[in-house]
C-alpha cells in the first residue's frame, strides 16, 4: 500500500470512506492525511452488506476494527442504506474531494463508473462548481463496456488495449447499450476487425461524454476517475475528442470516490 500525503488536510484520528457503486464497492482508510488501507469487492445484492464487508476488509488489512474509526462517510448509490457510516455524501462531491486532494490543479473531472458517468467542474477551493450526469442511459459506463466485452468474448481489461491497436475507427451509430451490442455483432459478421470496432466504440462514447461536458464547460486540468479510467483506450479516445491531455489521478482512479469520502470524513469528523 502506498502512502499519500494529502497536504494541509491532516486531521488526527482514523477516518474511513466507503463507496458503494453498482458494480464494485470500495473503501479507503486514512490516518494523519495518509491512506493506510483500502479494499475493493464486487457489490452484492445487499449494498449494506457489501459496504460493511468492504470496510471490514480494509480495516483487517491494517489490523484495525470499526471501533478505531473516528468518522465514516458512505457514498455511491448504496449510501442510502449504510448504518455503519456516520454520514453520507454524493459521489459527485466525493470524487471531487478525492481527485482534488491529490491534484489541486484539477478543474474538470470525467468520472466513469459502473452505471453512470459524469462531468464535474471544480473550483479553486476544491468544491464542485457544476456537474452533469448521464441521463437514463448506460453509454460510457462500466456496464456498457461489460456488455461490449461479452459481445467480443474478451475480458473487460482487454478492451482498452485492443482499442489502442485499432488502425481505423469504425463509425458506431448508436451508444445505446442494446443497439450497440447488435451493431457490434453485425460489424463482426461483416468482417470488420475487432480492434477497429472497439476503437470506434471508445470514440463514440468519448463523443457522448464531450456532449455532456459541453453543458458544463471544460477547463484544464482534466482528470479521469472511476473504474473505467483504468481503460487506456478510453483515456486515449477522450484525449482525441477533447484535444487535451486527460490525466489519471495519482492514486487508483477506481478508489477516488471512497478516498474523497474519507477526506470528507476527516474534515467533518475533526470539525474542520
Amino acid at each position: 500500500m502506498r502512502c499519500f500525503d494529502v497536504g494541509t488536510n491532516n486531521p488526527q484520528g482514523i477516518y474511513a470512506g466507503v463507496d458503494i457503486g453498482s458494480l464494485t464497492t470500495k473503501s479507503v482508510i486514512m490516518k494523519g492525511g495518509k491512506v493506510i488501507g483500502s479494499s475493493i469487492l464486487h457489490t452484492g445484492i445487499q449494498p449494506e452488506e457489501s459496504g460493511t464487508e468492504v470496510l471490514r476488509m480494509a480495516l483487517d488489512s491494517i489490523s484495525l476494527s470499526q471501533t478505531d474509526l473516528r468518522y465514516t462517510i458512505a457514498t455511491g448509490y448504496g449510501r442510502i442504506s449504510a448504518r455503519y457510516a456516520d454520514d453520507t455524501a454524493t459521489e459527485i462531491t466525493c470524487h471531487t474531494k478525492g481527485v482534488y486532494h491529490y491534484n489541486p490543479s484539477a478543474r474538470t473531472i470525467i468520472d466513469m463508473g459502473g452505471q453512470d458517468c459524469k462531468v464535474i467542474r471544480v473550483d479553486e477551493s476544491g468544491n464542485v462548481s457544476d456537474f452533469i450526469m448521464n441521463d437514463k442511459c448506460a453509454a460510457g459506463t462500466g456496464r456498457f463496456l461489460e456488455v461490449i466485452a461479452s459481445a467480443f468474448k474478451v475480458g473487460l481489461d482487454e478492451l482498452g488495449p485492443m482499442a489502442l491497436e485499432g488502425t481505423e475507427c469504425v463509425p458506431i451509430s448508436s451508444t445505446c447499450t442494446v443497439f450497440a451490442e447488435s451493431e457490434v455483432i453485425s460489424l463482426l459478421a461483416r468482417g470488420e476487425k475487432p480492434e477497429n470496432i472497439l476503437r470506434g466504440i471508445h470514440n463514440a462514447i468519448s463523443n457522448r461524454i464531450a456532449g455532456m461536458a459541453f453543458r458544463v464547460g471544460v477547463e484544464k486540468d482534466i482528470f479521469f476517475s472511476g473504474g473505467v479510467a483504468k481503460n487506456a483506450g478510453m483515456k486515449s479516445a477522450l484525449e482525441g475528442v477533447f484535444h487535451e491531455s486527460i490525466l489519471i489521478p495519482g492514486f487508483d482512479p477506481q478508489l477516488m470516490g471512497a478516498l474523497g469520502a474519507a477526506v470528507l470524513a476527516g474534515n467533518l469528523g475533526s470539525g474542520e
Partner: protein
Amino acid sequence: MNMALTNLQKIQEAVERRPGEIDALKKNGQKVLGWIGYTLPEEIIHAAGIIPVRLGRGGDDRLVEIGSRYISTQNCVFIRATAGLFAENSDPYVQKSDGVAFDTTCMQVYRLGEVTKYYFRKKTFFLGVPRCFQTPQARQYFLMELEEFTLRLEEFSGKKIESHALAASIGLYNEIREAIKALYMHAAHDNPPVITWHEIYGVVHAGYYLDRQEYLALLKDLLHEIEELRDAGVVGKASKRVRILLSGSVIAPGDTKLIDIITGLNGNIIADDLWSGLDPYIGIDIREPTLKGIADAYMDRLLPPAIPHLDQSTDNRLHNLKDAVKESSADGVIYHSLRYCDSVTFKGLEMKEFLSHEKIPFLEIHTEYAKSDIEAIRTRSEAFIEMVKFRKQAGGRI
C-alpha cells in the same frame, strides 16, 4: 397538506366536498367546462355562469401508458397522462365536464384537444393563441379569438355574458391573483415559515376545482390566519436549509416525485416559476373590464414557455426568473424539464448561462413519471444541495 393551519384543513375539506357540490349544480342545469392550457382567460368562463375546472394530472406512469395508445409517445408525459385520464374516465372532474376547452399556446395541448374530441367524443372548445404576443396584429387576433370563444360559451351555457358579469368576474379573479401572490410572499420571506411552499402549491391546485367565490374567501381567511400566527410569534424554528426555486415544465397535481426528493433531502423549496404554480397569477393587469382589456392583459403578461419571443434581448422569462431568485433570496434554481416538453428543455441551457452571469447555481432535472430515475434524481439533487452548501460555507457568492 399540512393541517397545522386551520384554513388549510378547511380548503382540503372543501376540495373533498366539491365533486358532490358540482353534481348538485349540474342537476340544476349548470354546465361544467374543463380546461387545459396557458392563455385561456378563466374569467370569461366564470362570467358565462359556467363552472370552470382546470384539468390534468401528473405523476402516474400508468396513465401515461394508457394515454400513449391515443397520442404519440413523443408528447410529454403530462399530455400523455392527461390523455390517459380521459381514456380511463375515472377522474371526477373529467367525468363531470360537459365540455373541455384548450388553447393553442402549447401545440401538444392542442393535439390533446384533438385527441379528446376524436377518441373520447368530448365537446371541445379551442382558443387560438398568436405565436408572437408582442405585435398589434397578435393582440387583434387574440381579441377576435376571445370574441369567438365567448360566443361559443354563450351558446354552450344558453346565457349571454353581460358586461357587469364580466366586470364582476374580472374583479374576483384579480382578487384571487393578489391573494395567491400574497401567499407566495409568505413562503419566500417568512423565516421561520408559517406556511411552506409545498402547502401553498396544494392551495393553488385546490383552486383548480373550488367555486371561485368560496376559494377567494378561503384564501383571505388563510392569509389572515398566517398573519395572525406570524405576528403572535406562533411559528417554528428558522430554517437554514438550502433555499430552492423550482422552475421549468408543469408539475401537475399528483406529480410529487421531484418535490418529495428535494424536501426529503432537506432542500427548502421557497418559490417557483411554474405554470402550475405562481406564473399564471403574475403580471396580469386588466385595465378595462372588457374582452379587449382581457386580451391586452393576457398578451402583456409573462410569456409561457411554449411561445417564442423573437426579440431575445427583451425575453421577460429570463428576467422574471432572475428577479424571482433575488426576490425570494433563493440559493439556487432547480429546473424541471419533462421529457419531450421541448419548449422548456430547449430553454435549459440558455437559462443556465443567463443565471451563471448572476452567479446563481442552476441544476436541470430531466425526467418523466416513471420511478426508474428516482435514485439518479436524488443523487443530482443532493449533489446540487451539497454544492450550494459548500459554496455558502466557503463564503462564495451564491
